[in-house]
């Protein structure tokens, strides 16, 4: 399993070399969105309206951070459970997004969309909010401030550690890892 350092926006060239289980240190701009924000973004796409940020090559982080302490750009910011975004992610990938960061397994539709549109589902360590929050250098709410922790934020990350869960070939580290370590009775 390899380790890569990548900078956003991601290209198909970037994503196609990644294999489930690889470690990636992400750099650059990523966008945060949870359930409520995804619903609004997908509604805009379907209505053919402009989005609050450019989807092309974008990486979306499923996170609802704690409030920042004075002087900090953001509070603790680990991933939330991803399956709640399963119904929206294929549309996001189809329209140019190249990566998602969350935790937990995805639907077959999301995995198929990763194959079809060169997308990657990255897993970050759930419950490591203090560690991950420290890798976020700046944060700015760019849409839906009324959603509070669920607002869309533009954040800048430096060497943000993630693992490739679903790659562009249809591999899934959750299935592969479990098969390897399961003890059948």
């Amino acid at each position: 399993m390899a380790t890569y350092k990548l900078t956003t926006p991601l290209t198909s060239e970037d994503t196609k070399k990644l294999v489930a289980g690889d470690t990636v240190l992400l750099n650059g701009t990523i966008y945060t969105a949870r359930d409520a924000a995804h619903k609004r973004l997908v509604d805009l796409i379907e209505a053919g309206e402009e989005l609050p940020f450019d989807l092309e090559g974008s990486v979306i982080y499923f996170v609802g951070p704690t409030p920042p302490k004075p002087g900090d750009p953001i509070g603790s910011a680990g991933p939330t459970t991803s399956y709640r975004m399963d119904s929206y992610s294929p549309t996001m990938l189809k329209h140019g997004s190249k990566g998602m960061i969350g935790k937990g397994k995805r639907s077959q539709e999301v995995k198929d969309a990763c194959v079809a549109y060169d997308g990657i589902y990255f897993g970050a360590t759930g419950g490591a909010g203090a560690l991950l929050g420290k890798q976020i250098r700046s944060a700015e709410v760019i849409a839906y401030p009324e959603l509070g922790p669920e607002a869309v934020r533009k954040i800048t990350v430096e060497d943000f550690p993630v693992t490739v869960v679903n790659d562009t070939k249809g591999n899934d580290i959750y299935q592969m890892g479990r098969e390897q370590y399961e003890v059948k009775s």
Binding site: M1, G21, T23, A36, V63, G64, P65, T66, P67, P68, K69, G75, S76, A77, G78, T80, T81, Y83, K103, G104, K105, G123, T125, G126, G127, A128, G129, A130, L131, L132, G133, K134, G148, P149, P161, T163, I173, Y174, M176, G177, R178, E179, Q180, Y181, E182, V183, K184, S185
Partner: protein, 283 residues
Amino acid sequence: MREIEFDDIVKAVKNMILHCGTDLPQDTYDALQKAMEEEKSPVSKEVIRQILENANIAKDEKRPLCQDTGLAVFFVKVGDNVRVKGGLLKDAINKGTEEGYREGYLRASTCEPFSRLNLKDTLGYNLPAIIHFDIVEGDKIDIEYAAKGGGSENVSRAKVFPPAAGKDGIVEYVKEVISDAGGNPCPPITVGVGIGGTFEKAVISSKHALFRDLDTTNPDPELAELEERMLTEINNLGIGAMGMGGTKTALAVHIESNPCHIASLPVSVNVQCHSSRHTHITI
């Protein structure tokens, strides 16, 4: 009758919340350390290493361990010879909760179930707390607190079995719940199992089982043996830390058992994530 000031309860509750938000309890830290040493998968080992590094950063820099700082859950034992002066005990616990979550920059996660509107500006910051009261002999108030996150709560389940299901049926059910959950509840997890009682008694017991320290053994030898059996079978599932595949899916299984109806065998499985933030105080 002994009297305790309302404000003393508020302060005690607030301090528990502030402490638990940033300082992983030692029993949890030690259990994770041991799991990292024993984990066979390099990917899961690295995940647990990050979890421990996260705990060190959170403690040193007073940052919340996780962005999901939970709903505040309390089990409170009130002595029959003590009263709170200046207000209701329930109000004092809620006030301490609000002050703790606000001052610690913890997240307010309570919302209205249908509109999903956050209640921080209406009902109060991360209110209401979930409080279970019991009355005991004595002149003290004992308060157990845990921060309960959503990811692990979402995979929890309960079912009333016919008595014939027996121990084997219970073990199979626990395995099924954890297997279906996969990496979603943030393993390595703690599994609370409530057995017996009525439907709701089993559920509450499974929650309370999660408040027990991880370095303890069940005082009932039969339950201790059943806990060991469940732990082995859960770890044989191969889920691993954050579902990456591995040998350490659970840190511990805790069982609480109650007498039940001759016709029923209620079983509840409540899951806690690796960030098992729990503490208690006696006033």
